[in-house]
């Protein structure tokens, strides 16, 4: 539908202002929508109204639950809250759920790695005209992510001190309906299972190959339009890893990645399986 753009008196300027503050009833709102679709002058006027409004109300930091909801929805549990620096831990705080992040980093294991990694930002930088600006941005993001000692990790590794996570996972395994997903390889062999109970979700890697230094298993949500990284699982083929499983996730898959993680899975998936809802 196209309308000729008339003189200024034909622009619904009063309705446009009311539209900017969402004060119109649905029918009037639709009429403004139709006008905006073919009137650049009114789109510009609307943008000016909208630039004015956010300066009115004072801004307070949102509670940490908001960030937890967002990170669960986008498949990035554990990404530290930018307002508090707090990481949404995968498992209730227990002294033996895994080594601290710095310790895990020293042993060369990829178990604690940035969820989505900064590789994506690096790739974007290569395509942007201002690499220096991006270099500063990436450095800033690393610093921001390091607040509170948490570096955006989703998964708590258990390679060194497995007993507690292992026993929690075993308990979950024994509960009825405890197994939420079974991940099979290309030949249909079960190689990993996901179990869950009140303590959280656990990925039991049961029959994958140990990977060489510099490589690690990476967990993905693959139920959506494109795979979303859920974090790194380490390089041991048999291991138990605690993680948060957002309820929106329907299908999981595991790839082999560099220890820093991929932004998109490369080289195909080692295993995949649906999550029971």
């Amino acid at each position: 539908m196209t309308h000729p753009v008339g003189p200024v008196s034909d622009h619904p300027l009063d309705d446009l202002a009311a539209y900017a503050v969402d004060a119109l009833e649905p029918a009037a709102q639709q009429a403004v929508d139709d006008h905006l679709a073919q009137c650049a002058a009114c789109r510009a006027e609307l943008a000016r109204h909208r630039e004015t409004l956010p300066t009115l109300a004072s801004a307070e930091a949102p509670p940490s639950e908001v960030w937890q909801r967002i990170t669960a929805a986008i498949g990035a549990p554990g990404l530290p809250d930018p307002h508090t620096g707090a990481s949404d831990k995968a498992v209730p705080d227990r002294p033996t759920t895994g080594p601290p992040a710095d310790e895990a980093g020293q042993n060369g294991d990829a178990s604690v790695a940035p969820v989505s990694s900064l590789a994506g930002a690096e790739r974007a930088r290569a395509r942007r005209p201002s690499p220096l600006r991006w270099a500063a941005a990436v450095a800033g993001l690393v610093a921001a992510a390091s607040v509170g000692g948490a570096v955006g990790f989703a998964l708590a590794n258990s390679s060194a001190e497995t007993s507690d996570i292992g026993s929690l996972a075993q308990q979950a395994l024994e509960e009825p309906d405890g197994v939420l997903a079974t991940l099979a390889d290309s030949e249909g062999q079960s190689v990993a299972r996901v179990v869950a109970d009140d303590d959280g979700a656990f990925m039991l890697l049961e029959a994958l190959q140990d990977l060489p230094e510099g490589r690690a298993y990476q967990l993905w949500s693959v139920g959506g339009p494109e795979p979303v990284s859920l974090g790194m699982l380490g390089r041991d083929g048999t291991n138990t890893v605690a993680f948060r499983l957002p309820p929106t996730i329907t299908e999981l898959a595991i790839s082999v990645a560099p220890t820093s993680g991929d932004t998109t899975p490369s080289g195909g998936f080692q295993a995949s399986g649906g999550v029971l809802q």
Binding site: A18, P62, H83
Partner: protein
């Protein structure tokens, strides 16, 4: 003249990184604008529903970043506008339920427009308060009841005992005067 509020990459660069699926870029956008999104949602529809509004707005940016068009305004105003629209929708549907409850029982009287306006004025920034104090009373009431109260222009007309066309006209002149006043305060772009 656009005033840069943040060091580091511009918002448009961060949105480009979100297109590239960078969680860190989304986190930085949330750090910059999450407070504004949260506060307007909380003001309009209450803290309980504001969480849901914030989640929806940032999840939408993550899943459909191309919907943000930098040619048509800044990221903050776009995010806040999305949040405001959602919050108003929630507030009105609850208001409908409240009206039904009120009709069914004999319920409390809503606060007068003057009391409500005074309540909304407390949510303003210092600069926002100084700017809004420069408006005519009818403009100030129309903007606060619409933008922070989430009322429709028809409801405001009833609350203030005036015509809906007058309310819309006051919103428009109020927004234009507000823009000028905020420019004088140096807080607008």
């Amino acid at each position: 003249m656009v005033r840069r509020e943040h060091d580091g990459p511009g918002d448009d660069v961060l949105v480009a990184a979100v297109v590239e699926r960078s969680h860190e870029a989304l986190a930085e956008i949330y750090r910059r604008h999450g407070g504004a999104v949260w506060s307007i949602a909380k003001q309009v529809c209450g803290a309980e529903h504001a969480e849901e509004v914030c989640q929806a707005v940032f999840t939408e940016l993550w899943s459909q970043p191309e919907r943000f068009d930098p040619a048509e305004g800044g990221l903050r105003s776009w995010l806040v506008a999305r949040a405001h629209g959602r919050a108003v929708h929630i507030a009105r549907s609850h208001e409908t339920h409240r009206h039904q409850d009120r009709d069914a029982q004999t319920a409390r009287t809503p606060p007068s427009a003057e009391v409500e306006v005074a309540g909304h004025a407390r949510a303003l920034t210092e600069a926002g308060r100084r700017a809004i104090d420069k408006l005519a009373t009818a403009e100030r009431e129309a903007i606060l009841l619409a933008y922070l109260g989430g009322h429709s222009s028809a409801e405001i007309a009833r609350l203030l005992g005036t015509l809906e066309s007058t309310v819309k006209s006051n919103i428009r002149s109020g927004l234009m005067n507000l823009r000028r006043a905020l420019e004088v305060e140096g807080v607008t772009t």
